[in-house]
Symmetry: C2
Subunit: 345 residues, 2 copies
Amino acid sequence: MRIHQTTIYDIAKELKISKSTVSRALTGHPEVKSETRQAVLRLAEELDYQRSRLSLNLIARKSSLIGIIVPEFNTSFFPQVVIGAQETASKHGYNIIVSQSNEQFETEVENTKVMLASQVDGILVSVTKETRSFEHLKVFERKGIPIVFFNRVCDEMLVPKVVINDYEAAFGAVEHLIQTGKRRIAHLAGPESLITSRKRLKGYEDALKKHQIPLDESLIIPYDLTLGKVKAFVKQLMELKYPPDGLFMVNDPAAIEAIQTIKHLGIRIPEEIGIVGFSNDYGSELIEPSLTTIAQPQRLMGSTAVQLLLELMDKEASQWKAITKTLDSSLIIRNSSVRLESEPV
Amino acid sequence: MRIHQTTIYDIAKELKISKSTVSRALTGHPEVKSETRQAVLRLAEELDYQRSRLSLNLIARKSSLIGIIVPEFNTSFFPQVVIGAQETASKHGYNIIVSQSNEQFETEVENTKVMLASQVDGILVSVTKETRSFEHLKVFERKGIPIVFFNRVCDEMLVPKVVINDYEAAFGAVEHLIQTGKRRIAHLAGPESLITSRKRLKGYEDALKKHQIPLDESLIIPYDLTLGKVKAFVKQLMELKYPPDGLFMVNDPAAIEAIQTIKHLGIRIPEEIGIVGFSNDYGSELIEPSLTTIAQPQRLMGSTAVQLLLELMDKEASQWKAITKTLDSSLIIRNSSVRLESEPV
DNA sequence: CTGTTAGCGCTTTCAC
DNA sequence: GTGAAAGCGCTAACAG
């Protein structure tokens, strides 16, 4: 049970002035006699007065809340994005409310409803792997509630997006494998529904093309991000008549799983097969051999998304532009693609 | 810019009735003629009416917000707790606003101010490793804002806490090492400021005592959670005249670092030294040898903390009780303490 | 069953 | 410079 909060009325009564004057003194309005202001300020301090966000929110018709919907919270990726978003939002007087969708479309839809009911002033979204319809998100557009996508974006909505250079990153990763002498490079490709997956696939294909390596469809395996399936996929690849000597995985968890499977098969990494992942997850540095992967600027992604959202808030929905901010990623070369010196103790 | 939201007044005007009636119809008040109710409901639907949380908040003098302050977001631990908290809070109509303190006391103090300014209805806290003064948190108690600690708690405040059975877990971990034949067991102990650290240390000591193993102070190393220092500490231990044959680490990141250091030294794990960590972090399963560690029910911790917080909300601050909920953890035995069969491919 | 009125805590015209 | 009054969107006590 909350103790009584002092209000401007308490201060006004005590000082025998009107609450309008108290309000003016408190908000730094110029037309207040400085003695009055001093008195108000002093008493406010003394009574531990705090302005009520609730009433300010009602007057301004805004909640000072930014919603963020993420598909999962298991890897290190989204928590880091949230931190970046939270820090930037906080600087601008907004709070972040988080909800995660468990990679389930239904949960995502539920979460948007919660956001709507909470009257968020804007929303940051990264969709689940299952999300194919975007009606639940278009609602925000229609209501004039700013929306910004990050990482897993929706192309059919004309709103800002923050992504990383998936295509270039994938291209670079595959080219790296080629430069280490690999020629038969396989790719575990993410769900087609995700644009990131498609871009990574395209990067893979174009890198091969550039180096005149013919595309072999049997080396491209569609993967729905169900980690449990990786082992079978990798075995399938390695049992081919001409097994791959390189492997570009759509994300790190899958790459780590692949490393373990391949080690069990008694195949040497990176000599017999070079492996590259994507994301620089927690485990990628720990696995043996350590995983060559692509690091993404998660926190920057979060803060950039908030920045774009804040810009939208000043505009009419009709003026929103579908700009896409592409952030740079970087290839981190470790032992799964090149045998490096082991670090000294 | 937000589009005009339909209000109960819009509906009232359209239907030529008073807004009280509309309100009653909408809230399911029994004393409304069913025709009137039907009409209101239909029109509300049609106009896509949504009740304004902002005004409800003002009337109820509550924000429907629960704040959660965590010391860090780098390991998997706190994100999982947040998810548990969020899911439970959501079921009860509350949203969670998160802020992390970067393990810095100053940031934690800042975060409490933000929470206060946001007028959270309650707050969940896990303190930083630097936190020794609790004045910034006692403010909540004084203001009658419910507060519940989890994981890293404050003993001097008489409010509910959710912890895991650190003592028993540590005891069990050390006993496990003893049962594998280890006798000289070292412990990298966390900061004394954290109760969890102290309990784990006590569990370590008592396990040794139970098995009549004399305590050797040189085997207990105070560690401030600065990961970079682990390597030197471990080397120091292994260069002792009688180096340890067992190692109980206060958390997993440190344990993982220890494994790497010990491998570099050419010492075999677990034969020459058995290692146990704490937390079952992301990497513990991936490192080689995989890490024996203690798994904690993070999500349960989050939801339990919210549950306790909700209970406090119904009571006067004077009636709050300092109950402590202790959740069970479980020892996960892996290869760093016992040479297990390697899993079949 | 329904309308009128007051009020949640604050800002903001409009007077004086 | 300051006060009175209206209003943000809604609920609830009080009449009728």
